[in-house]
Symmetry: C2
Subunit: 337 residues, 2 copies
DNA sequence: ATAAACAGCGCAATCGTTTGCGCAAAAATG
DNA sequence: CATTTTTGCGCAAACGATTGCGCTGTTTAT
């Protein structure tokens, strides 16, 4: 084309100043009482040459980027992929774009991502935190609106929206107990994470006083962890446990894979129950009983909370009280235990 | 803190000009022959106050953003989630950040995303295109490095990296024929997309001359489509087909769900075969035979291609010849047919 | 001794937009 | 007709970083 395609170019071609062109094209024409004739001439020229504002310059000047940063501990995990999908849709619906980062469960990478978000001037941040203590997140949260999701910290003033992992695990364990299982292996995810700790607590509380032998093992929300721990527990002792509680769908896959390798069948030889929902779980053999987390709802609440923080931030109003909410999961009963 | 935290502030506090501070902090000290003493004083002060460059300003000035845009047709689809995950990791490893957009199979939203990417000055774009013709993408590709992935266009000068869908579908169909199936229902995804067209072509070519009755139905890579089409095909006529070829894992889920609802069992009553790989497929009942696409490999090649385009673009060198590559899928044989 | 080379750094323009302030002309008021 | 108000628009300074050019002073070559 004609080389440049910015306000200055339109200014040149219409004879109006850059200021006027800017005001017209950013919809502030009447606020600044620009004449009808100017508005028409300018919008016509802008349309003609397909003008599009440079968002980088706009961000620099206005300190708003129409972008939020989202950091998750592993986008390859279907759970976080689903969560990300839900959040991206929500943001999109509000006209915001998403910078997506993956911390891979690493505190260092998480810090980098959060710093990068700030350096790029995002308007807000949604994070599934990985760090073991809230200091850094709180520091970041003091500068830019920040809402935690899925994981959170004790005693923090940050907003968070999570599912009630204590209740979820409690329901699952109680169900196993009711079904008569008495030797239960729980395979956990990342031990330090709040959801995991809450699940362990819910699990232990539910089996307490029922004469259940149990062990909690494992260290990651991964297929590999599920497989390794299951092998370790059952190899050489096929009757070691009568049920397995997998703390995530990924872990479940590892567990089932290992059971099969050992010649055990889930559901009959060993009861299994899982966390997370997933279209596949209904078509496994047997269909898997599981705790479903209301991710859509959690995502909606989190985004809502973030936007009210952002709104206050924009107007330099006092920060609204933090939203700290747990949403209730539900037990989906099938045939695996 | 001390209010601002930019080059000017450091300039004030050290007595050196903004230029010198900039050159030191952006690692160009020796190129511009800055003295040791200046370098030390400045880096010390920068460390003290935790200086971090404003990436928005940097982008505006240098026209580089260390960002690439990624647009997929549905991040909620596990296939694209996996692809996105792979690509984000690759970009991250090269120090690039990712703006992720979801076109939801809508040409309009795809255009919006691509335009937004340009407005934000991304350094490159990776796209799973949705449009039916390449014009718009070619236009964009003329301005900013662009590589297509998973889907592509005929006769385009754009780079693309996809799997060989013709070969994949051919293998699958041939396997069904070899197994003796003669009435095959193929449930396709988005009809106009190149992978889908190639799969249809591969499917039809493979069954040709073998006396196979077949129909190709459906219009989306979704669970709902799989379920709807399966119901329509088998309701009132349980023996309508002896095998179903699902063109994606999501479609497969819908198909199995529908078969069960109709009292049919996949594998025995009706053979099923699927496209895509997925940890769950091995643990369904029965385990599902499927065509696995080498996504990791495709992602690596695509990112590699993108970076060589970006490199040339940065140095205003002539654009290297487009990379147009198909990578070969493999058939994973299990027990569902 | 004079010129040339070089070391070390700053000036000021630039990227594209936004916006407070002010200025002139036109319109309204007394 | 003199004053005030309103209308319509432009000047220029931001936002924070980068970089071509040039300016001083010192060192080296001729």
């Amino acid at each position: 084309m004609n080389g440049k395609n910015n306000l200055a170019a339109i200014s040149d071609r219409t004879g109006y100043s850059v200021s006027t062109v800017s005001r017209v094209l950013s919809g502030k024409a009447e606020k600044y009482r620009i004449s009808q004739s100017a508005v028409e001439r300018i919008t016509k020229e802008a349309r003609r040459c397909g003008y599009r504002p440079n968002l980088v310059a706009q961000s620099l000047r206005t300190r708003q980027s129409q972008t939020v940063g989202l950091v998750v501990p592993g986008i390859d995990n279907p759970f976080f992929a689903t969560l990300a999908s839900i959040i991206i849709s929500q943001l999109d619906a509000r006209g915001y774009h998403t910078l997506l980062a993956d911390s891979r469960e690493s505190e260092r990478e998480e810090r980098q991502a959060l710093e990068m978000f700030q350096d790029r001037g995002v308007d807000g941040i949604l994070a599934v935190p990985v760090a073991s203590s809230p200091e850094f997140h709180e520091e970041v949260g003091a500068n830019v609106p920040l809402v935690l999701i899925d994981r959170y910290f004790q005693e923090t003033s940050l907003s968070y929206v999570c599912t009630d992992n204590y209740a979820g695990a409690y329901m699952a364990a109680q169900y196993l107990v009711d079904k008569g299982y008495r030797r239960i292996l729980a395979i956990q995810g990342v031990p330090a994470s709040m959801p995991n700790r809450e699940r362990v607590r819910g699990f232990l509380d539910a089996i307490k006083g029922h004469g259940v032998e149990s062990r909690v093992v494992g260290d990651a929300f991964s297929v590999e962890n599920g497989s390794r721990e299951t092998l370790a527990a059952f190899a050489g002792n096929p009757g070691a446990y009568d049920a397995v509680f997998a703390f995530s769908a990924t872990i479940l896959i590892g567990t089932i894979s290992a059971l099969r390798k050992l010649g055990l069948t889930e559901g009959t030889d060993v009861g299994v129950i899982s966390y997370d929902n997933n279209g596949f779980l209904d078509f496994m053999n047997p269909p898997v009983t599981r705790v479903e987390q209301p991710l859509q709802e959690a995502g909606e609440i989190a985004v809502e909370a973030l936007f009210s923080l952002m709104e206050a931030h924009r107007s330099s109003l006092p920060r609204p009280a933090p939203v700290q909410q747990l949403v209730r999961p539900t037990l989906i009963i099938r045939e695996s235990c």
